[in-house]
Amino acid sequence: MAKQKFIDAVRGKRTASAPWVPYAGMHCAFVINEPADKYLQDPEILARGLVETAKKYKADGIPLIFDLSIEAHALGCELKWWPDNVPSVTTHPCSDKTPSEAGLQMPTKDSGRWPVIFEAARIAKPQLDELDCGLIGGLCGPLTLASHLAGVRIFTDVIKNPKFAAEVCEFAGRVGAISAQLYAEMGCDVIAIIDPVASQIRSATFQQFVTPNVEPAINAINGAGKTSTFFICGDATKVLKDVCELNTHGFAIDEQLNMNFVRDLAKEHGKGFGGNLKLTLALSLGLLSPREDAIVSLSAGGHIGYTFAPG
């Protein structure tokens, strides 16, 4: 395992070989045969699953937790828990009012599940260091958090009610900066701003509502001397140039993008890039050979700034 190789790749540097980072998420619970809802709320179980998974897959880096409801939960959104998946956000406090009208306060390290995450990191970090495995903190990006706070109306408001949308996204961006500080304090080596729904908007909307509101988190990460990256899901082709223009060291994408296109754009902008292994088509459904998919990804990714990871 090679933590520094992973950090170098995210920073767009040449590496002797591509680092391997399984975004294990709830699979860590599966590895230790625990239900997802229990796993996500018990720091000892969480740390055990994380370390066992890092060992099992010989990971160069691994996310501490991959759950985009943490910030929303800390702000008072209600959750529906599942035994085999991350929780879903079921209530939207800003569905008919702004964050200030809803009385939302900035979270602290004592809000929601942050104490659980802090404790899990305290247990797992030394063990991962011993394995030479990097720890990734993943925070909920501004548009995804704005969706959690305001519900699906946010995608209409960005056009019809931009003042309201800007207020919710700006609030979400400030919450993201706090999450970034917390993950830095936990000792995470790489901190990812994860904004899956940012692929579901047009480029102009991304530039207006996402770009300015990831800045606070990026500044917090880079300012703490950590490595920053931006994770986006879905078919992000239409906004990938905007992603490259963010001030992060790198970015990661999912299986729906063309790897050659991603690699060339990353290289043009001097960014690290990762992802794209066919999580659904190969690893989940078996419609493609995972081995052949891995070979194709490794060939396309190359040795400059590429992290071998699922999409």
Binding site: V86, G151, R153, K160, R202, C233, D235, Q256, S284, L287
Partner: protein, 150 residues
């Protein structure tokens, strides 16, 4: 006060309009990875589940997760290319774009089974999303209930 639209009687795949004539419901299929795990998929589903009651009466919708065989079959049948996508009356309409309320109404109106349904949809263009029954509507659509692989 917003105008009260005449109610429709829900009869499975058809609804009775105010003039007593039967009309086919508009079929909406949401192709997802998994609306629980994937936030983009979740909000695609929510964009349909948050349509107001009067529109809920005129539509029939389901989540098709690619994590199960039925979902893969539907993805192939509808010639899906990316996830998530919203299909209206069999047409891939919103591919990796979570629609605005008015965009949804306009695309449904274009594909309405008849003039009366189209006019009713257009008359509801200023109504906006309604969050009161989202969870109930998602449950009716089977959202998140068939997302396991296999």
């Amino acid at each position: 006060m917003k105008p009260i639209m005449p109610s429709t009687l829900n009869l499975g795949k058809t609804c009775i309009k105010e003039n007593g004539v039967m009309a086919e419901k508009i079929q909406i299929d949401v192709l997802t990875l998994d609306s629980v795990q994937c936030a983009a998929c979740g909000y695609m589903m929510e964009s349909i589940a948050a349509l107001p009651d009067d529109i809920q009466d005129m539509i029939q919708y389901s989540e098709w997760s690619i994590k199960n065989k039925e979902g893969i079959g539907k993805f192939m049948e509808l010639k899906g290319k990316v996830l998530p996508s919203i299909c209206i009356q069999g047409d891939l309409v919103f591919e990796s774009i979570i629609p605005q309320y008015e965009e949804l109404i306009d695309e449904m109106a274009k594909r309405a089974p008849d003039e009366a349904v189209r006019n009713r949809l257009v008359s509801l263009r200023d109504e906006g999303f309604d969050f009161a029954k989202i969870q109930e509507n998602l449950k009716k659509a089977g959202s998140g209930l068939k997302t396991k692989a296999g």
